[in-house]
Symmetry: C2
Subunit: 150 residues, 2 copies
DNA sequence: GCACACCCTGTAGCTACTATAGGGTCAAGC
DNA sequence: GCTTGACCCTATAGTAGCTACAGGGTGTGC
């Protein structure tokens, strides 16, 4: 099949398929006399594997590793597969916590402006301005017991 | 003061300061005879403003807008400031939800491998492989609720 | 006259694509 | 044979927000 058909079957853009080939994630297929890529059914599965892992937020480097383990299922223990997934879980979890803190900070900042008023009087702009001069702000409250050096 | 001193006072890298200047976020300062940038105290505040907004996850485009409102505090209502912050909150919130779903999916996948075994027998690799062939997987259940489309 | 810290510009790298520009191939229809 | 249109090719540049050089110039102390 041609690249367009592979794209259709996997829901992956043609450009992305070529990109994966350049990056060494998808093996280069045979070529027709005129240079068109000719894919086999196995390529559909390999590309699905990549897209499935991507949908789990894995990096291309991690997917390369996983695909390698998959292609060469050695009789070794699967520790490294587990470690890879565990690392990904930790990364995602810490991103969640970072974003949750960010959300709290943004809500605190947003709380400084309620009633309609002008730009010159806006509590949000005033908070940002004061914080630029080193004053404490609603969004970044000082840590417990410790004062922010300034 | 020179750029290194500004960097020290704001905790911002020298390269980043030059980058902000190129991007039009920080006004270009005066230059010494030998071409060194010479910053005024006002620059410290402006850079702090940028870094403070960055720490809230705002994009440079949004910060440019905010800084503009801040420098020209017109007697207009502050609707657009609020809209900007609200958009940011929405973005952060939807990122959190996306990542939380990702975490659930990764934990489900991780649950396919418990006891020590080989790569050839690993439930994680097997799940990923089966999903590549179109079979249902632990990480992407067919429907969120009880109802299954049919 | 030299060491060393600091400064300058310009460019390339990072992630995972996406979007062109500028061309070649192939089947159908006239 | 010729044209149209869908498809394919490579190569390059762009996205966000920095970061890291390379290759040079400047300023001060000894
Ligand atoms: Zn307001
Ligand atoms: Zn704050
Ligand atoms: Zn396992
Ligand atoms: Zn899945």
């Amino acid at each position: 099949m041609q690249i367009g058909e592979l794209a259709r079957q996997t829901g992956c853009e043609v450009e992305t398929i070529r990109y994966y080939e350049r990056e060494g994630l998808l093996p280069a297929p045979a070529r027709s006399a005129s240079g068109y890529r000719r894919y086999e059914p196995g390529h559909v599965e390999q590309l699905n594997f990549i897209r499935h892992c991507r949908s789990l937020g894995m990096s291309l480097a991690d997917i390369r590793q996983l695909a390698d383990y998959h292609r060469h299922p050695a009789p070794e223990p699967c520790d490294r597969v587990n470690a890879l997934i565990d690392d990904q879980i930790r990364r995602v979890h810490s991103q969640i916590e970072t974003l949750q803190q960010l959300e709290r900070q943004l809500l605190a900042l947003r709380g400084r402006c309620h009633s309609p008023h002008t730009l010159a009087d806006c509590g949000i702009l005033k908070t940002l301005e004061d914080a630029s001069s080193g004053e404490p702000c609603a969004c970044h409250p000082p840590a417990t017991g410790k004062k922010i050096a300034g």
